[in-house]
């Protein structure tokens, strides 16, 4: 009986704290995206304009994001029925945007970043479930 109550407490705690942290992260992401809007990041292989290029540089941003206990529990249940694990959507969204932002932040003076690629690898806590996900975004920064 006590194990069950302990489990419930963890769930609620995970939910509350996880939601707070997630909101904070999204807020930070939104703010930084606004600031960096003027740095174009495209997936084209060649720059829009090949003149005046002073320097090109490989830039990358990587981040590891994890989810809370509550989301893991829900994901476990969905694994039972099958279908989209909706709760992981926000996780991946945050991770991707954060990685791209970090990449941009490492090339603040660049005119543009081309050939953007995003790659992911999951860090498994146990063989069965996704404990955290690591996303790397990289591209070529062009300085004019």
């Amino acid at each position: 009986m006590y194990e069950f109550i302990y489990f419930l407490i963890l769930l609620v705690l995970g939910f509350i704290v996880g939601s707070i942290l997630e909101k904070k992260h999204f807020k930070s992401i939104n703010e930084r995206e606004e600031k960096l809007l003027n740095l174009p990041t495209i997936t084209l292989k060649k720059p829009l304009n090949e003149e005046n290029i002073v320097q090109t540089e490989l830039v990358y941003g990587s981040v590891v994001v994890s989810i809370d206990f509550f989301k893991k529990f829900i994901a476990g249940l969905v694994n039972f029925f099958g279908g989209n694990i909706v709760v992981y959507d926000t996780l991946l969204n945050r991770a991707r945007r954060e990685a791209i932002l970090r990449m941009k932040e490492s090339a603040l003076n660049a005119s543009e970043i081309i050939n953007l690629k995003v790659e992911t690898s999951s860090i498994h806590k146990s063989a069965k479930r996704i404990g955290a996900v690591e996303i790397t975004a990289y591209g070529t920064a062009i300085y004019r």
């Binding site: 249940l77 039972f80 709760v87 969204n93």
Partner: protein, 264 residues
């Protein structure tokens, strides 16, 4: 081509439904499907158990009794208990041999193990003053065998164990908590059936049901060593009443002439 600074539309990548109603729906449907699976499986198990032939029951029981190694030699006291059990067993049409043993224990208890073994503690024997009382207890235990109650509780734990296979890791501890409940206890209904059967067996073996309820009334009055027994057996008052009603229905002879009980 011109670059216009615009944020991409992220809405497609984010969940459309808020997480709380989504999770509630998910959890509720999960619990419901577990309950439905449990009920269906139990129903199936029940049907199977009812259609086990005596021969199969005998084979199963022998299988289980081989697993449970018990004391081999019997004292004179054991033999006396065995005689009473045999007398009652003859009337009950059970396809396998029932073995009775005395267990050295201050606590008042008598129980039947799957495999056809009945144990009665020295604590219980101390408060028994007549053969009739002994017969009522033994009859009750034989009743459990007759109704295949052990097979039932065995299969219940199999069903719940089976279901817990499908539940992801962290909650199997939760399920184990639930399985413990259903393990060693027989339901009220099963106990009452065993009571009724005990009375019928007594009537068949002795020609009367003298003293059938005395032991239960004694236990109802309470005793410090009874705690353990009381924990696994439901309230006595209603059972005693039901037993008395049953006696009245079947018009059994009930007097206070009791066969004395010699202690070894």
């Amino acid at each position: 081509m011109k670059y216009s600074a615009k944020k991409p539309n992220e809405d497609v990548n984010l969940p459309q439904e808020h997480i709380v109603p989504y999770s509630t729906k998910l959890i509720v449907s999960f619990i419901l499907s577990m309950i439905i699976a449990y009920v269906i499986l139990l129903g199936v198990v029940d049907i199977i158990i009812q259609s086990i032939t005596p021969k199969q029951e005998k084979a199963l029981t022998n299988l289980i009794s081989k697993e449970i190694k018990i004391a081999t030699s019997k004292t004179k006291a054991d033999m006396y208990i065995q005689k009473v059990v045999d007398k009652l067993a003859k009337c009950s049409d059970i396809p396998y041999k029932l073995d009775a043993y005395i267990m050295q224990d201050k606590q008042i208890n008598a129980f039947a193990l799957p495999g056809g073994t009945i144990y009665i503690t020295t604590g219980m024997l101390k408060i028994i003053k007549s053969e009739n009382e002994l017969a009522s207890v033994m009859g009750h235990e034989i009743g459990h065998f007759k109704n295949k109650d052990h097979l039932r509780s065995f299969s219940t734990s199999i069903v719940t164990g089976f279901i817990s296979l499908f539940i992801p890791d962290s909650y199997s501890s939760m399920v184990n908590g639930m399985t413990d409940f259903s393990k060693m206890k027989f339901s009220q209904v099963q106990e009452e059936f065993a009571d009724k059967f005990g009375i019928d067996a007594m009537n068949c073996a002795y020609g009367n049901v003298n003293g059938a309820t005395i032991l239960f009334e004694k236990m109802d009055r309470g005793n410090s060593e009874l705690e353990h027994f009381m924990a696994s057996h439901p309230s006595f008052k209603s059972r005693i009443k039901k037993m008395k009603d049953h006696i009245k229905d079947k018009n059994y002879i009930y007097s206070n002439k009791l066969i004395p009980f010699n202690k070894d």
